[in-house]
Symmetry: C2
């Protein structure tokens, strides 16, 4: 039977069952590669240490430093040293601070078509641009995968995205994914893989494809994938890795769960308005709005192609006097290429502040806009406050749109710059085939040398707290009731103040739900356990497991919502918090903060299935939550979380 590319790769990596089951059924797949970054990595490796293995069992595992490079105190660099010593001890590659953003570097140096990749970062699906099944997960899942354990997920729906035509100059990959977001919304991809195909694919370079698969994360998708074709081969040849190429595509006549079609030639420059990646409008519609800041970079848009497009637009011009503009090349290799081609020189000359090759402003590490500022960013998320400035208005745009605004000082449709881009781009052509950057990648040590490595632990690196046992019944207050689309940023913010505490749960938990309810921490500390009630798409956004770990530490025992974002739900299971869904969404309206709810028969519901039964103490109101958890998730919850489950031999 004709298969999609997704099905082919999943099938070749299937651990159980033996054949691909129906959509939504549990599957376990082997992970060829893993990646971590430093914000989630410390916790992942603390957990890997707890599991107690001697060496990673994957084909390739890489530990990247890219999030915490501001270093306002000892914590960040202590984390870097911990991670470097872990990499040496357990057989991982280590990508040194300054070497670039994990997804960009991984694509350039390690990505292999047809392989699977699990990463403790929600934008791991970037690897789909080179034909990988690349999935973001919590650190604990990645720790288990490094130990050779399978990764469990529900067999996804496979949504075909048929691309036809060719992008006009001034329109780029970012506009493609913004168009998908406009149509599908931030919830459209839950439980799904977006598989791109069709005659339009060949006109997109691998970095452009990676922009699209990267921001598939904002659709809530499991991952996104492009075929591996001659364009992929050329990319791998340029990267000095021709041997890593395999041609891969869906079979002729493969059946998708549903197909959406995009005519690339008809696309216009688009922008996601504040404060959601799917609040998409044509740039032309908002043109003329005054801009105070422009930032180019992030794992979504920081390739040489993107920087060159910017240089072509700003060629000979200067950043508008009342705009601050920054640009962060995605990797040191990109930076070296940009230097060679003259792109870097042109960006400096135009007045861009050259930021480190790191996540930087995208994760709220610096470059916060002014009060009420309008910031155009080529990033993937524009949640309120994520920039570091609570009342800033952040628009997500292509590098072309960002560059045009940097020069004019107002939101500007880059199609008006069409001629310049085409002509000027030629000025930056140079032979960059020799520029591969592996010098700042530290290779794994051999097993004998590795055993002698001592782990370096700074004073901020604390052991990971363990989940409590799950009793058969709970009678606890609803300590918080949230609206729809609560992001993991809302549950546990990122930013310069909080990120350095990622390896210190007692400290970081003080920021739990800080934006929604600044008193939550104090109330939780004075309450012996609690529930949280939420709306639709609870836990969207970043994969950070601290959004489960800190609530667990503060005594949250169940989260009852209208619907969950996939990764966050899995994280709640891993940390022993019941992730429950109202059988009747209308009940959401009936429940208030401070209601005391009784949840009974928990063990039976987990062992045998059947709904979870709630009763409100004040008036006896009864309601149920669905039991749509798979057997393994239920077993993990019964065991008291993933660590306990793994220790008991669970896979």
């Amino acid at each position: 039977m004709a298969q999609t590319l997704t099905e082919k790769i999943l099938k070749s990596h299937l651990v159980e069952p033996s054949e691909l089951p129906g959509r939504g059924e549990d599957i376990a797949i082997r992970m060829d590669q893993t990646l971590t970054q430093d914000a989630t990595g410390t916790m992942a490796y603390l957990q890997f240490e707890t599991i107690g293995l001697d060496r990673v069992k994957t084909e390739l595992s890489v530990s990247y430093i890219d999030h915490n490079t501001l270093q306002v105190d000892f914590r960040n660099m202590d984390d870097h040293r911990y991670l470097q010593s872990i990499a040496e001890r357990y057989g991982l590659w280590f990508s040194r601070a300054g070497n670039g953003i994990c997804h960009q570097v991984h694509l350039e140096r390690f990505g292999v078509p047809g392989k699977t990749l699990l990463g403790s970062d929600s934008h791991t699906p970037t690897g789909g641009g080179i034909g990988m099944i690349a999935i973001g997960a919590g650190g604990l899942d990645v720790a288990v995968a490094m130990g050779g354990g399978a990764f469990h997920l529900n067999m996804p729906k496979i949504i075909g995205v048929k691309l036809t035509g060719e992008l006009r100059t001034g329109v780029s990959a970012k506009d493609v994914i913004l168009e998908v977001l406009r149509r599908e919304t931030v919830k459209g991809g839950v439980g799904s893989v977006y598989e791109y195909f069709g005659p339009g694919v060949v006109a997109l370079s691998v970095p452009q494809r990676a922009t699209i698969t990267n921001m598939g994360a904002e659709l809530g998708a499991t991952c996104s994938i492009f075929p591996s074709d001659s364009v992929t081969r050329d990319f791998l040849v340029q990267m000095g890795r021709p041997g890593d190429f395999t041609a891969l595509a869906a079979d002729e006549g493969a059946i998708y769960d549903r197909v959406i079609e995009i005519d690339l030639s008809s696309l216009n420059p688009l922008a996601a308005q504040p404060h959601s990646p799917d609040a998409v409008v044509p740039v032309a519609e908002i043109a003329g709005k005054k801009v105070s800041q422009v930032v180019i970079g992030s794992c979504t848009n920081s390739s040489l192609r993107d920087l060159t497009a910017v240089a072509a637009i700003v060629k000979g011009k200067t950043i508008a006097p009342d705009v601050e503009a920054g640009i962060a090349p995605g990797s040191r290799q990109t930076l070296m290429q940009a230097e060679k081609t003259g792109v870097l020189g042109e960006l400096i000359r135009a007045g861009f502040r050259i930021l480190e090759s790191a996540c930087g402003p995208c994760i709220g590490m610096g470059f916060a806009p002014n009060s009420g500022g309008v910031s155009l960013r080529t990033f993937n998320r524009n949640f309120k406050g994520r920039s570091g400035t609570a009342d800033a208005e952040v628009y997500l745009v292509s590098p072309e749109t960002a560059a045009a605004a940097a020069i004019t000082g107002v939101i500007t449709d880059p199609l008006s710059e069409n001629k310049d881009i085409t002509e000027n781009s030629k000025l930056f052509e140079a032979d960059i085939s020799g520029i591969h950057d592996d010098d700042m990648l530290v290779p794994p040590l051999g097993p004998e040398k590795a055993k002698k490595v001592e782990i370096v632990r700074g004073p901020n690196i604390k052991p990971c707290p363990t989940s409590p046992e799950l009793p058969d019944s709970l009678s606890l207050p609803v300590l918080l009731k949230t609206g729809d689309n609560v992001s993991t940023d809302d549950i546990m913010p990122a930013g310069a103040k909080v990120l350095p505490l990622r390896s210190n749960i007692p400290e970081i938990s003080k920021f739990t739900f800080e934006r929604l309810d600044p008193d939550f921490y104090d109330r939780a500390k004075n309450t012996d356990g609690c529930f949280v009630v939420g709306g639709e798409n609870y836990g969207q956004g970043s994969s950070r497991e601290h959004a489960a770990l800190a609530p667990m530490y503060l005594g949250v025992r169940a989260v009852i919502v209208k619907s969950f974002a996939r990764i966050h739900r899995a994280n709640l299971v891993n940390y022993g918090i019941l992730p429950l869904v109202f059988e009747d969404p209308a009940l959401y309206d009936a429940i208030s903060r401070d209601d005391i709810l009784e949840l009974t028969g928990i063990h039976q519901s987990l062992e045998q299935g059947g709904p979870f039964k709630f009763r409100r103490v004040s008036d006896g109101l009864q309601f149920t939550a669905k039991n749509d958890l798979d057997k393994r998730s239920r077993d993990i919850l019964l065991a008291g979380g993933r660590v306990a489950y793994t220790r008991k031999g669970g896979q």
Copy 2:
């Protein structure tokens, strides 16, 4: 009579008296130029606004953004926008964020031999490298100078530094100033100007001279100065400003207060050990010590010459695997030149993290070392904790020494790299004469346009409170009684929590006397004016004006002590607080907290001299305070502080 260069410039700028007086006497000089940076600038301009002039009266005034460029929240960029609007409104140049460190940019674009420069940054003496009398001062002094007011100082001693011989390759300007610090110590220059002369001068480029005058600040000197000669002319020609050149030197036979002599050819690479810039030893003596971090940059060592020396040493090599290395070019112009010459490409290739052209790690804004880390830095200060890591060990070294350690991973004498440096430097020769960077400098607006500019004030920027009028008598409680040696840190702490509030006196005042008495703020807010009583050496330490400004805001009307530190006493005068000294120190013991004291005949004491008369209300105890204030200080106090004094035409 034969004059030193210092005497010539001071004399040509003398406002009063009409001839240069003896050492230590008060002189007032005209300031041709001023500069501010963003950490001190906001308050300087808030004060300038209060003075109420329509436009700066200097030949040239520049407002730089270089300190707060991390931008972890709205405050930094709000400050940038405030400063930019102030520059437009009042006729200043504005150097945009990313354009570079004030002292480096000023040297390149604005420095003129023979001119005077007052800057609200302690490293303003950098300008002495191009033959200026360039002095660091408080924001209020700079505000007054911008308004055309004279700058008052005591006629300094002039210490001649005779340079002979020529530096060997691998030894550079940083080693010269470290040698001066080794001999003179951090207190050696108090009340003095260091004037360099002799046959060794001509072999030092202007940026090398500027390294030496910059770090003269660490000697406690008023400033340092080099002659303006053919080397200066060549520098100005290269900067595209040949017309700004004048030849300047001391007269033959000029008499210095004292002369020290340094044979440059005998100098070895030196390092200032933790935690003082004068703890200087030969690098060879500490060679082999393991290093975890190397940082090159700051206003001391970030010129193209310095970056080129580094590139020559690291050519073809890679930063040692367990060292994190960063480099911050001093200005965007330097960055552009480094790009043109290939230096930048080589630094990136070697594995340096390229940091923004800003002060950055030198003022603890990022790149903090690991716990207990050893950090080699080309900066000017290594006070404990300044790096952001309390227990880090910071060594101050030349770019050559820093580069050698970055490669080897241990402290290394760069003389061992001698051959490489000489040969490799030739690889980076290129014509950079056309590269001048004024694009990110916003020139002053014409007077008519300027008047229409509206000042942009973020929510953290509050008007500078004005001193109240001084009545003829006061009857107020002693709200605080302190012991001896109270520092300005005790009166108003620094640190990451407090610094962002520098432009917000109502907020920052909450920290007043926080270490000595956490309730002081609350009590002061509930009291309508008060006195403070203190012991010996009250107000020692940093010169920060906020230690006078915040008490003034909280209603402190007089501080009565056994003795004062000099600068703090001057600050109290400037902010209209009576700084009084017990005539009989034994009375200190008699006075208690909460005593109500009557101070009468204030105006007469200030107008005519004679002691200040106190009476304790509870028991009629009478005592007096000395009147040893000079006439100008008494006039300032009578006027109600320096701002009011200046508005009334006081000089």
